[in-house]
Amino acid sequence: MSLKDEEVLHVARLSAIEVSEEEIPRLKKDLNEVLEYMNSLSSVSTRGVRPTSHVHGAVNAFRDDLVRESLTLEQTESNAPDFNSNGFRVPKVL
């Protein structure tokens, strides 16, 4: 099994990364090489083995639901590419 051009574009779309026509051959080669290596996992017998969810078997960590200080508006805005009247401005959605 190996990825074709349209699958590379599909994965790029899932990843929200714009990919140019020229980039496809190299990406396809790299992805296929790594996926082929990953396919070696299929030879491992894992019947009845539980998938790991936490390395030390820890479960949920809870804390009290208390109101605490959070970032100020000024701090929130400080790294924003486009901030206007208390909101992050983006291209029109609707």
């Binding site: 899932l14 996926l35 539980r50």
Partner: protein, 496 residues
């Protein structure tokens, strides 16, 4: 070159308390060293001289008032991988995506070091978003190995390792997702400790693969690294995955083991690790380390970690999956780079990410999206988590039945040439074969210098412990360090 840049942390501490030099002088000597060498090494992305000098002056005041009641690290300079967010100082994570990003808060480890009075000199270069094993894949240029400027320093914490081994910084904080502290330490003749998953808070470490990432110290001796771990270890309520397990006194563990010796200690050598192709000199060095440990009184035992062969594939599936999810936050909305002249929201996302991320980061995100996508999730992701369970069981069985500590190589080769492995992603991934099993199992491991190749490149050896047994591997590392006649940074310090 000032003598101040080659002292151990204990020597710095004693000198500060005696008044032989001030924290400000210590800070200035290191800034001078960084300024003299950074053009060649490219190990710092940001040098924060001004805030460092202010912190050093404050430390001098505190030492004058509190004397030996001041914290051990008070007035001691250090640097941090540019993946750890720092209030008021730029954090780029080695990426154009975060160029100019200034965090409004400190990560927990920097906060703890600040409370201790340590002095942050600046931020170390790294592979972009920690995705690499050579520190070549940074938007800010490749880091150079001080032992041979045409070779890589390892990665992704390459800038941290170089800072420490070239006398730019007494210690540095790095992160280790699949070997990113241990392998650069080995390539540069430094000591690097990857703590147990959950031993050190990850709050404020830019996320790569959250179930693997762990912050740890790089330094020039086992004792120095132990002192730093002491300051940063422990539960943090801001990181739900930090564990509430008592923190040992690491310096005491080292001393105790130095007094009692290694008699009665069982050190396992995994037979599967010999099935990989390893450089002859690394192999000979490992055999020498086995003999050295036997001379120290330890019993060396042959052990089996049967799923080692599949650890690397499992690791890459899981890490890339987690990365694809973690890096979704770079969308050009709240912080970081944003593409200009776009006509729709989707175009803004896609072009922002195409422009802001480097090639390897894009590849890893795309592979991660693929293994998580409909139809492939069970075959890759779930399967890899099952193999992870098997790798964890291998280690558990070895520690329960056969040994206290495991000995292994760090890397199959010494530092390779710049550009040698960048043509193929897979070839670069294969260099991580001896370091990733530890991250799959969340265990602590340390890399210490164990010799030099004939051509004069450092070799490292790795000691792996059971969960939360950092004290034990530090103790064995100290004993081995004393028996290795490796003069840490003499050569690199003379080279400049």
């Amino acid at each position: 070159m000032s003598k101040l840049v080659s002292l151990s942390l204990v020597e710095m501490r004693e000198g500060l308390l005696r008044g032989d030099f001030s924290a400000l002088e210590l800070c200035d000597a290191h800034i001078e060293r960084i300024e003299a060498t950074n053009a060649a090494l490219n190990s710092f992305i940001t040098i924060s001289s001004e805030s460092a000098r202010a912190a050093a002056a404050a430390a001098d005041k505190r030492i004058a008032e509190e004397k030996d009641r001041s914290p051990m690290l008070c007035g001691i300079p250090y640097s941090a991988k540019d993946m750890l967010v720092s209030e008021g100082i730029e954090t780029t994570c080695g990426s154009k995506m975060l160029s100019g990003f200034i965090s409004p808060y400190n990560c927990t480890v920097l906060e703890r070091l600040e409370e201790n009075g340590a002095v942050l000199l600046g931020k170390n270069n790294m592979d972009e978003f920690a995705m690499g094993s050579s520190s070549e894949r940074s938007s800010y240029g490749a880091v150079r190995n001080p032992w041979d400027l045409d070779r890589v320093p390892g990665g992704s914490s390459g800038g941290s390792a170089v800072a420490v081994s070239s006398g730019q910084s007494p210690f540095s904080l790095g992160t280790d997702t699949g070997g990113s502290i241990r392998q650069p330490a080995a390539f540069t003749g430094a000591v690097g400790l990857k703590p147990t998953y959950g031993r050190v808070s990850r709050y404020g470490a830019v996320a790569y693969a959250s179930s693997f990432d762990q912050i740890g110290p790089l330094g020039r001796s086992v004792e120095d690294v132990a002192s730093v771990l002491q300051a940063i270890a422990g539960k943090d309520e801001l990181d739900a995955t930090s564990m509430d397990v008592p923190v040992d006194s690491y310096l005491e563990s080292i001393e105790r083991m130095a007094d009692e010796g290694l008699a009665g200690l069982k050190i396992g050598v995994p037979r599967e690790y010999f099935s990989f192709s390893v450089d002859e000199e690394i192999d000979a060095n490992l055999k020498g380390q086995i003999a050295a440990l036997e001379n120290l009184g330890a019993e060396l035992v042959d052990i089996s970690l049967p799923h080692t062969e599949h650890a690397l594939a499992s690791y890459y599936v899981l890490v890339l999956a987690e990365a694809s999810s973690n890096l979704a936050r770079y969308d050009g909305v709240r912080f970081g780079h944003r593409a200009e002249s776009v006509s729709s929201l989707e175009e803004m996302y896609c072009r922002t990410r195409a422009e802001g991320f480097g090639t390897e980061v894009k590849r890893r995100i795309m592979m991660g999206s693929y293994v998580l996508s409909a139809g492939y999730f069970d075959a890759y992701y779930v399967k890899a988590q099952q193999v992870r369970t098997l790798v964890i069981s291998d280690f558990k069985a070895a520690f329960a039945n056969d040994c206290d500590v495991i000995l292994a190589p760090v890397s199959p080769t010494p530092a390779f040439g710049i550009g040698e492995k960048t043509a193929s992603s897979l070839e670069m991934y294969l260099t991580d074969i001896f370091t990733v099993p530890v991250n799959l199992a969340g265990l602590p491991a340390i890399s210490i210098p164990s010799g030099l190749t004939k051509s004069g490149l450092p070799i490292g050896v790795q000691l792996i412990g059971s969960a939360f047994q950092e004290g034990q591997i530090l103790g064995v590392a100290k004993a081995l360090e004393q028996s290795n006649t490796f003069a840490n940074n003499e050569k690199t310090q003379q080279a400049f």
